[in-house]
């Protein structure tokens, strides 16, 4: 008993705590000893490709699946504790809303399930509709809402119980960029209220908005840390090029000695240079190819770092020993 008390007090900062989670669907092992924790007022981005096991980990986190190994705890209590249901919120893929119920009715339903009084419910609904900018849509059926609106409604339904922990499973899938930005603004406000958020996504640009990120690959968290820390890579240097003729010179840039990869993006490109090559030599070579090109050392983003790794991994088997 004393050990348990100790662990729950030391974990007081960690609201969501997944330790050594293992899980298999039949013979297929999906998760292998995954450990992570999410503190109060923190957004943890669980990043992985489709089928990496993100949803499974989230479902273990909310107590819907029992792991084969490890433990899932919320606020220091095991997930089997039914009282935790009032303190967590879950937004599944597809949102789990009732399409034939109106915005107001969906909210009222979830408020009832969390035992809110009629007065509190109306007050909370007014507040949430205000925050999400959905006051004009109270009577509209959820099934007739746009993707972005539906996502906001799902968030509002999740927030109605004032949870301390939220588990969001790819909530911005199929949502336009404007709605996505609005959603992140809402989420930032929720974070500011001290809610611990575990956010599963396949989008690296979204992961960069998180406080901490874990990369889920082959059932394991291959890396964890702040997006900035994960973007740092010791074995390459990045340059950002800006110019009008980048497209035409791409092939020549790629064939320069010491250049690993070039990612073009409109009139810009990120150029990765091996760590042991002098940047000045490369820069002067680039100037020779395209004299009008602007060149600056690039602060590597998480997205570019991960993309580089993936690209290198893909080319590795065909040209062994090249890196």
């Amino acid at each position: 008993m004393p050990a348990q008390t100790e662990s729950s007090t030391t974990a007081s900062a960690a609201v969501i705590e997944l330790a050594g989670i293992g899980f298999a669907y039949g013979a297929q092992r999906v998760l292998k000893s995954v450990s992570l924790s999410v503190g109060q007022g923190e957004i943890y981005g669980l990043v992985g490709a489709d089928g990496a096991g993100k949803s499974t980990l989230l479902r273990i986190g909310v107590g819907q699946l029992t792991p084969d190994a490890g433990s899932a705890r919320l606020l220091g209590h095991p997930m089997t504790d039914p009282t935790l249901r009032h303190r967590l919120a879950y937004m599944p893929q597809g949102f789990g809303l009732y399409p034939d119920l109106s915005v107001q009715e969906n909210l009222e339903f979830f408020a009832d399930l969390h035992g809110l009084s009629a007065q509190t419910t109306q007050q909370k609904i007014r507040d949430l509709l205000g925050r999400t900018g959905m006051q004009a849509f109270t009577g509209r059926r959820a099934g007739q809402l746009s993707g972005g609106m539906m996502q906001k409604l799902a968030l509002a339904c999740a927030l109605i119980s004032e949870p301390q922990a939220m588990f969001l499973d790819e909530p911005t899938t199929g949502v336009d960029p404007v709605s996505r930005r609005a959603f992140w603004q809402l989420l930032s406000a929720v974070r500011a209220e001290g809610v611990a958020i575990l956010y599963a996504t396949a989008n690296l640009d979204e992961a960069e908005r998180c406080d901490r990120v874990g990369l889920l690959e082959n059932g394991r968290l291959s890396r964890q840390g702040t997006p900035q820390a994960l973007a740092q890579t010791s074995d390459a240097q990045a340059l950002r090029l800006t110019g009008h003729h980048l497209r035409e010179t791409l092939d020549r840039l790629r064939s320069l000695p010491g250049v690993e990869l070039v990612f073009p993006r409109g009139q810009q490109a990120t150029l990765w240079v091996a760590a042991d090559v002098a940047l000045n030599t490369v820069i002067s070579e680039i100037k020779r190819i395209d004299p009008h090109c602007q060149i600056e050392p690039a602060p590597a983003s998480l997205q570019e770092t991960v993309l580089r790794e993936l690209a290198l991994r893909e080319t590795a088997p065909t040209s062994p020993g090249s890196h």
Partner: protein
């Protein structure tokens, strides 16, 4: 059990029902349709069967015989058939269902006490053929009695109770109510939980404090209410449209109907949980509840005439008990308490189903 949770579930379910035109139509039109379909279409007795009488005798005696058939409500004598050949053709074409041939020597042989007449019957529909044969025999026998001028030493004086005019409708309509309840109760509830699983709402509900008992109770309550409304409609139609006398107490009828409704609703819920999708659930529900209610309940086919194996099987069909009870309440005016040997198995089935459904409901993954 948190009543706020149950109420929220029930209210939500009610909204689903009211907003889904297909379910609503099924709930409201199906009972009326079934009632009218079965009430009017299924006849186990015959009226006005087209019959031709070929009178080759042309005597007072043969005309007397013809008049007897013409006066019967079972037969409708068609004119214009004078020879055996035309009758055969008409039977083949289906214009006639039967033909009575009175031979030329009918009158003299009748006087000798040895008259023969021939009845040609279209036997394609064996049941109708049998009924026509029985009616004709009855007519001939009464005529023979008259002709002999003396009363036979032995006579049967029958008096039919409960369905004095022996109309099959009176027995069928109470049975249709069982069918209506089975459809509404099982088919509708079989869809409701599966829908929740299919749409992915259950995933969300699992993280709320809703327990599985609250979930089930809230889900089924609106269907129970609608089932009772359907019972009201069906009973009203039975009494006022089909003239079926309701001799027993209304409360008794409501009581056993509620009991049966609960049984079929639990069947539907269990199917829904096991199937997990609406299409499969509705198909299983049809096979498991509607068909047995139709074929194995004694609604149309008497259980006593079934092969022994099927007879035993009917003990597991809840509709069997309900059909027996509703017929007894409607026609015999009995109370369900007097029929405890029929009511009790229904109660037992309810208890067993409740237990099994609650165990199966663990699959839903909701709080216990």
């Amino acid at each position: 059990m948190n009543l706020q949770h149950v109420r929220a579930m029930a209210r939500k379910e009610w909204w689903h029902l009211l907003r889904d035109p297909r379910s609503l139509a099924l709930m409201l039109l199906m009972p009326t349709m079934l009632l009218f379909l079965f009430g009017y279409a299924i006849r186990l007795d015959i009226t006005a069967a087209p019959i031709a009488i070929v009178d080759e005798s042309g005597t007072a005696a043969s005309r007397d015989l013809s008049a007897h058939f013409a006066a019967s409500h079972a037969f409708d004598v068609q004119g214009g058939y004078t020879d055996r050949q035309s009758v055969r053709v008409a039977l083949q074409r289906g214009d006639l269902w039967a033909a009575l041939l009175i031979p030329a020597d009918y009158a003299p042989r009748l006087r000798q006490g040895d008259a023969r007449i021939q009845l040609l019957i279209d036997g394609v529909d064996a049941n109708t053929a049998r009924l026509m044969h029985n009616y004709a025999q009855l007519l001939i026998r009464s005529l023979a009695l008259q002709a002999s001028g003396k009363t036979p030493p032995l006579q049967l004086e029958d008096r039919v109770f409960f369905n004095e005019t022996r109309e099959s409708r009176l027995a069928i309509v109470p049975g249709v109510i069982a069918l209506v309840m089975a459809v509404i109760g099982a088919l509708m509830t079989s869809l409701t939980i599966a829908r929740e699983m299919e749409l992915g709402n259950l995933v969300m509900l699992r993280t709320t404090p809703l327990t599985r008992n609250e979930f089930l109770l809230g889900k089924l309550a609106p269907y129970f209410v609608l089932g009772l409304v359907d019972l009201g409609v069906a009973t009203a139609a039975a009494v006022w449209v089909f003239d079926v006398p309701l001799r027993g107490g209304l409360m008794g009828l409501i009581g056993v109907s509620a009991l049966f409704l609960l049984v079929v609703m639990l069947q539907g819920a269990m199917i829904s949980i096991i199937a997990g999708n609406q299409l499969l659930a509705s198909q299983i529900a049809l096979i498991q509840t509607f068909l047995p209610a139709f074929l194995l309940s004694g609604f149309i086919f008497a259980i006593e005439n079934m092969p022994l194996v099927l007879q035993y099987l009917t003990y597991a069909v809840p509709a069997r008990y309900y059909v027996a009870l509703s017929k007894a309440i409607f026609l015999k005016g009995l109370s369900p308490l007097m029929l405890w040997s029929v009511t009790l198995p229904l109660v037992l089935i309810l208890v067993v189903l409740l237990r099994v459904t609650l165990v199966k409901a663990r699959r839903l993954g909701l709080l216990s």
